[in-house]
């Protein structure tokens, strides 16, 4: 709810003109009333209408500026005849009126050009720019006419009292935590300009191979094409640009030339997605970056957590090499301690903590004693599997004994393994266990099938079932049963969903007498992870969140201690790659300014990005015009069960070129332009 003077946003008709302040009707939307802590906004104008926050707005100038922004700043325009010339004419005519030189016929021409743009432009930006302009011309006709009839400039035409800040966005771009310029990279695919496609991705997402494979793609949930038929397969289309670079052995297509060194140094702790991303964008800005990593390998959980068959390491390494290519210095096998952090504060101009959440949480059952052999945390289990599969780093002898392994790799032949979880991590555990030759693999999950699909993906669940994982739903481990500290079996409780007689949410209740025992050799807890923050010196008293991660304001990613920043899972809690990337990209941008000016600032683009996310660009009720429904979403082929279950070959083939082009062709280029006047 926002208090506005006038609004046509998303079709609402709020008109408080002439009403007393306390009678003002409110807008239903989260409009950006405050631009930032220093300035309140005067107006907001965008693809779906216009909102005025005060009576003192020069609407003729506002319209002119919006048309100008479209002309001047929009990279998206210039690619179709109506948008290119139409946009210019809109601006020229509006400016003519605003200057006090307009004629009545100009109003007619404006409407005529607007209609052609709305009907025939290539992308939404050209189709929608006329919308708020027409709104203003309709609702404030008298102000336009005053300029024309009086041949006088609009009321603020010659004043420089207002800033006009514009931003290009799109529903999918807004929903992507890294705000990847999705329409641009899809356009690159459609135009067979794969280098452009990759450079568009890398503007905000350096891990193109990776996020083209294992991103849970929140963007697709807010793809506007959903309103017509099915969402675009956004994620996979990212692979074409990345593959083009890799297949032809080009150097790296960076989104911009690396700036010469500015003589500032930053330490990044952790070489996971967050650390890599932070390093990449800091390096592009000319900052010297040292990345410290505890493990012998780079990549964080995507390297040692996500298995080879989902994310081939040679592809991930390509993403990592792109970071190294900018001159980033990696220091592996080095666990950063509190003492080192104290030292870093002196040695570096800023520090980015990106240590993730690598401690597996307990399942909270009886007799859950870590010393019992066969009890093995998911993160450590996957570390051991991945280090061997991807890097040939074998299991050390002590761990081999500890986990009862017959050899120096994870060989589960003849063993039964149970995993407790329900998210991505647990899914990786059970599928790796199948590949490690386990006799029987069981997944215990408190809730039902639909929920596990929601938490992972349909494909992931379905593939696990195909490979022979046994899912026991509505179940939880009550007790671990051991003999001399060796795990023998589990006692499992069963639950049922009991509807709330008062119509509330159904609750899970234990079914008495339904508990049973299963014989197992291993129990892998994969319920969730927590952060190990021992590296933060206690005396710094860095603030934590209630779930024991590092606290920031979620905008500039600085911790409570100046110069120390945090991004990724250690800030947010266990989340996704793209979330880590988005946070670290923002942090890098803030840090690059901070190391030079000592101040924490956000760019106009970033401020607008946050405003738009709050407002939400995607409108699931919108009815789509100008596109033919019924063109199905492309699906890429996967290996058959027999081809995949005993090896680590990548399960998904990725799109054939034909599929990719057909899919790219479906994208509607839903670029929009929004502008705040403050």
């Amino acid at each position: 709810m926002s208090k506005v003077y006038f609004s046509t946003w998303r079709g609402e008709q709020i008109n408080n003109i002439g009403k007393a302040d306390e009678e003002w009707e409110k807008s239903a939307y989260n409009l950006p009333l405050e631009y930032n802590e220093h300035a309140s906004s005067k107006a907001f104008i965008g693809w779906d209408g216009v909102a005025l926050f005060s009576p003192d707005v020069d609407v003729v100038r506002l319209a002119t500026e919006y048309a100008a922004q479209y002309q001047v700043y929009s990279e998206a325009c210039g690619r179709c005849a109506p948008g290119r010339w139409g946009g210019r004419i809109l601006y020229d005519l509006l400016d003519k009126i605003a200057r006090g030189e307009g004629a009545l016929s100009d109003m007619e021409h404006l409407k005529e050009v607007s209609k052609t743009m709305q009907e025939t432009s290539k992308c939404e930006i050209g189709k929608t720019v006329p919308n708020p302009l027409l709104d203003l011309m309709n609702h404030f006709e008298s102000e336009f006419m005053a300029c024309i009839e009086g041949q006088k400039p609009s009321k603020h035409y010659h004043m420089h009292d207002t800033n006009y800040i514009a931003k290009i966005t799109a529903p999918c771009m807004d929903a992507c935590p890294a705000h990847v310029d999705i329409p641009a990279y899809i356009e690159g695919v459609r135009d067979l300009r794969f280098d452009d496609s990759l450079m568009a991705t890398r503007q905000t997402m350096p891990l193109a191979h990776t996020c083209g494979r294992v991103c849970p793609h929140p963007c697709e949930t807010e793809c506007r094409r959903t309103n017509l038929d099915e969402a675009i397969s956004i994620m996979e289309l990212k692979r074409l640009g990345a593959d083009y670079e890799t297949d032809h052995g080009f150097g790296f297509f960076h989104p911009a030339q690396k700036k010469p060194s500015i003589g500032k140094k930053v330490a990044v702790i952790g070489a996971g997605p967050a650390g890599l991303t932070g390093a990449y964008y800091l390096a592009l800005e000319g900052v010297d970056v040292d990345v410290y990593e505890e493990l012998p390998v780079l990549g964080g959980e995507v390297a040692v957590g996500v298995p080879e068959y989902r994310m081939p390491i040679d592809k991930y390494n390509q993403d990592i090499e792109a970071v190294r290519d900018l001159g980033v210095n990696f220091i592996t096998n080095t666990k950063v301690t509190a003492d080192m952090m104290r030292q870093f504060e002196n040695d570096y101009d800023a520090v980015l903590v990106a240590t993730g959440t690598r401690i597996s949480k307990k399942v909270y059952c009886d007799n859950e004693r870590p010393e019992i052999q066969g009890y093995w945390g998911a993160i450590d289990f996957l570390d051991k599997v991945n280090l061997q599969v991807k890097y040939d780093i074998m299991v050390p002898e002590a761990d081999q004994k500890r986990h009862m392994l017959p050899a120096n790799f994870v060989d589960l032949s003849g063993k039964t393994l149970a995993c407790v979880g329900g998210g991505f991590t647990s899914m990786d555990v059970v599928r790796c266990a199948i590949r490690a030759g386990a006799k029987k693999v069981i997944m215990l999950y408190r809730r039902d099938e639909a929920t596990i699909i929601k938490n992972t993906t349909y494909e992931e669940y379905h593939e696990a079932v195909e490979e022979g994982v046994e899912f026991i739903f509505h179940s939880a481990v009550a007790k671990m049963n051991d003999e001399n500290d060796v795990l023998k079996s589990l006692t499992v409780d069963r639950f049922e969903l009991v509807p709330d007689p008062n119509g509330g949410r159904p609750t899970l209740e234990k079914i008495d007498g339904a508990s049973f025992d299963i014989d197992v050799d291993y129990l892998i807890p994969a319920v969730s992870q927590s952060a190990d923050l021992k590296l933060l010196p206690e005396e710094w008293e860095i603030e934590r969140t209630s779930w024991a991660t590092i606290k920031t304001n979620g905008k500039d990613y600085m911790t409570s201690r100046k110069g120390i920043f945090a991004a990724g899972d250690c800030e947010y809690g266990p989340m996704t790659i793209v979330n880590a990337v988005g946070q670290a990209k923002r942090a890098a941008s803030v840090m690059a300014r901070y190391v030079q000016s000592g101040e924490i600032t956000l760019s106009d683009d970033e401020i607008m990005e946050d405003h738009l996310r709050k407002l939400k660009v995607y409108d699931k009720k919108e009815k789509i015009k100008g596109w033919l429904p019924g063109l199905p979403r492309a699906h890429s082929e996967v290996l058959t069960v027999d081809e995949r279950k005993d090896n680590n070959r990548e399960v998904k083939y990725g799109f054939t070129q034909e599929e990719a082009l057909a899919e790219a062709e479906r994208c509607m280029r839903c670029y929009y332009i929004a502008m705040v006047a403050h």
Binding site: R84, V113, L628
Partner: protein, 751 residues
């Protein structure tokens, strides 16, 4: 198959076809300004909008495939109104100075403006000042550019240079060279061809003639074996002052065909002649005396047939080493495949999703094959394996696996390649044993190609569906050419690969199918026809008897597609023809093209008369040029031979290959084409040969020597240098194996 309707009439579309494509096939007209059949849709002009019963608002017909049962309207009043408005926008600030524009008369903007009845400038915007760019053979005028993006699409998707891009800036957008200040490209000129207005023009042609003064002569390009279709545009203004008809430019049916720069800009190679009885008599005497003719493959089928008849009737020996090598190669090939010709074509390459190139510098040897590979790579995501001792930078954005082998080891590589691709094939036990018995360790070590490289090829091709193998001309003249041919034939015979051979010269294929060739030797005396000899005739250099060049002749060629392609006279030739010479030797007919119908049926020719041959593409791109040879059966009695010891090439080695757009004495004569005659090598080569950039050097070959400049090429690696052959200083590229050990000495240095 999708059934839908256009304006109420039933229409069907294939899977993947757009509404526009289906409409055109069914004969409906939807206006477009940015559509180019051979590229992905540019989707910039928006004129192709249509209405349907399932959509709100207009949709784009050029990028939307129809859905079952859709009902499409292509010409409502609404559509007309918006299309007219778009045309009005196009005309905003487009300088109405058509009188001085090259495109006038053939301009899409002019035509569409008329079609939609747009008159005065309805809308206006502030003028902007823009300067004309001069990019060598091409001029670009941004104020005429309608930003349709056709040029950008064709350069990236078909040519592969990816040399230009759109600089976005709304109203100020323009076409700019990509990643460089000035245009640095292979100057194919295809961007000029596709430009619908006069924004991109040939700098040579600009202001020289009006479109309507030119006569169009459809012909076949006379520079390489691809046999591209082109149109010579000739002004026939013979005036009192004796001005002669002249070719002003070359154009092409760019919707369906593509030309390289040689075809487009290298048209002025004609020679003039006069009828000198005495010279003709000397030519006839010379032939009678030496009883031998040496000729190049810059020759029509009909002329080759005349030579063959001379051989048959007068016992004249025929020498053409390059065609003989091709002939022998194909004979050996056929002894395994059981067919006279290979089964592939340039078009098959363009449609494939997996290509292997083996033994040739394809991008410059045969640009049409390069464009087909670019098309395959971009449009089909084709995997392209390039096997050659030298990497080629022109192909970097096409090649996905480069396999470098040692010079001379082609036979070993062919054996390993065949073994790799035939792994799953149903071959005879004997063949299986042959491959099992190969000494892989030796072959891999000597050729320097690891088994993992073959393993990768095997994996790549396991998932491709339409595969082609391009055989380069290095293999044709290799000492072990015939066994290589047999190994390659195995691949075509026992797998789903189709094979195309990049024959070295314009009509190598035709000559090889028509003539019985004799083995030439170092001191053999013969009359030269466009080749060296004791007496010379032909159309280049200082020949004694002038005969018409290939742009002054009618007749046919056989392209590497095994297509018999007609060509026509662009400018008439006043002197004698080979037919006149032959008449004096007892082989006579009224016109050379009388022989078209007599071309040997046993080689697959159809017996068609010349006048029955078409020379154009149908409106939907149907190839109506000449006809395709029948692939005649031959006896499959060949056997694979043991791979011989692989030779070593140490010391200074050069590779005969031409710079971009250069092929032969014709292109060497052409005014607009760049003539780089330097020997190019890497720093490593320079060090080994003890020469430096800019040095004048003497290169001693087995059969002679020549002087050239040395240019140190920073992009090159390795110890093999490139030596051009088009300038004729050293004869044709393919008389012998293209790599050769030479002696290089420094003669002086360039100031």
């Amino acid at each position: 198959m999708i059934n839908f309707t256009i304006n109420g009439q039933p229409v069907t579309a294939q899977k993947g076809e757009t509404i526009l494509q289906a409409a055109r096939k069914a004969g409906f007209y939807i206006p477009t300004m940015c559509y180019l059949e051979k590229t992905t849709p540019c989707a910039s002009c928006r004129l192709c909008v249509v209405e349907t019963d399932k959509t709100d608002g207009f949709i784009l017909s050029c990028q939307t495939p129809p859905t079952e049962g859709l009902s499409v309207t292509i010409d409502s009043e609404n559509l007309k109104a918006e299309r007219t408005n778009i045309m009005r926008l196009y005309d905003v600030n487009h300088p109405l100075e058509c009188g001085v524009c090259d495109k006038s008369g053939a301009c899409d903007l002019q035509n569409k403006t008329l079609e939609f009845g747009v008159s005065a400038q309805h809308f206006s915007a502030k003028e902007q000042h823009r300067t004309i760019e001069h990019w060598g053979l091409i001029n670009y005028d941004p104020s005429l550019c309608i930003l349709c993006e056709k040029c950008v699409h064709v350069c990236n998707e078909i040519i592969g240079d990816d040399a230009i891009e759109l600089q976005f800036g709304g109203y100020k957008s323009s076409v700019v060279p990509k990643n460089s200040e000035k245009l640095d490209c292979t100057f194919c000129g295809e961007c000029i061809a596709v430009c619908p207005v006069g924004a991109l023009v040939s700098s040579d042609f600009q202001y020289s003639a009006n479109a309507w003064e030119l006569t169009q002569i459809p012909a076949t390009c006379a520079h390489c074996s691809a046999g591209c279709s082109l149109v010579y545009e000739v002004r026939h203004t013979s005036n009192a002052l004796g001005a002669k008809p002249k070719i002003y430019r070359v154009t092409n049916d760019f919707e369906h065909a593509t030309l390289c720069g040689a075809g487009r800009f290298g048209f002025d190679f004609g020679s003039e002649g006069a009828k000198d009885e005495a010279e003709l008599a000397r030519a006839v005497d010379a032939i009678q005396e030496h009883k031998a003719i040496r000729f190049s493959s810059l020759i029509t089928n009909e002329e080759a047939y005349i030579l063959q008849k001379l051989k048959e009737s007068a016992g004249i020996k025929l020498y053409n080493e390059e065609a003989r090598a091709y002939q022998d190669f194909m004979k050996a090939y056929g002894s395994i495949s059981g067919k006279k010709s290979t089964g592939g074509s340039i078009d098959a390459v363009a449609k494939s999703d997996g290509v292997i190139v083996f033994g040739g510098r394809i991008a410059t040897d045969n640009p049409a094959l390069r464009y087909a590979m670019t098309t395959a790579a971009r449009h089909n995501g084709a995997k392209v394996v390039y096997m050659h001792p030298l990497e080629d930078a022109l192909l970097q954005n096409v090649v996905t696996q480069y396999v470098k082998y040692e010079v001379g080891t082609e036979e070993g590589v062919a054996a390993m390649l065949a073994k790799t691709l035939l792994k799953e094939a149903d071959v005879s036990e004997e063949t299986r044993r042959y491959f099992d018995d190969l000494d892989e360790g030796y072959l891999c070590a000597e050729s320097n190609v690891g088994d993992e490289e073959f393993e990768r090829i095997s994996k790549t091709f396991a998932r491709t569906k339409r595969k082609t193998l391009i055989i380069g001309s290095d293999l044709l003249s290799h000492g072990r050419a015939q066994n290589i041919a047999r190994l390659c034939a195995m691949i075509e015979a026992y797998t789903d690969f189709s094979v195309v051979v990049a024959a070295p010269s314009v009509n190598t294929v035709g000559v090889s199918l028509i003539c019985d060739l004799d083995a030439d030797g170092a001191n053999v005396k013969a009359v030269g026809y466009n080749a060296h000899g004791v007496y010379t005739m032909g159309s280049f250099g200082n020949v004694q008897l002038r005969l018409p060049a290939l742009n002054s002749q009618e007749g046919t060629f056989v392209s590497i597609n095994h297509q018999v392609l007609p060509t026509n006279v662009a400018v008439a030739f006043e002197g004698y023809t080979l037919n006149d010479v032959a008449s004096r030797l007892g082989v006579s007919s009224a016109n050379t093209i009388d022989y078209t119908a007599q071309l040997p049926v046993s080689s697959g020719f159809s017996g068609s008369e010349f006048d029955a041959l078409g020379n154009f593409y149908g409106p939907l791109g149907e190839d109506r040029r000449g006809y395709v040879l029948e692939n005649v059966d031959v006896e499959a009695d060949g056997e694979l031979e043991e791979v011989e010891d692989l030779p070593e090439f140490n010391g200074t080695v050069v590779y005969r290959c031409n710079p971009v757009n250069q092929f032969n004495a014709y292109t060497a004569q052409s005014r607009q084409l760049e003539k780089d005659t330097a020997l190019r090598g890497s720093a490593q080569f320079a060090a080994a040969a003890k020469i430096a950039n800019g040095d004048k050097i003497r290169v001693e070959f087995g059969s002679g020597s020549e002087e050239r400049m040395f240019v140190l090429d920073g992009e090159m690696k390795g110890t093999v240098a490139l030596v051009p052959s088009y300038d004729g200083a050293y004869g044709a590229a393919n008389d012998r194996y293209r790599f050769e050990k030479v002696k290089i000495s420094r003669v002086g240095s360039e100031v």
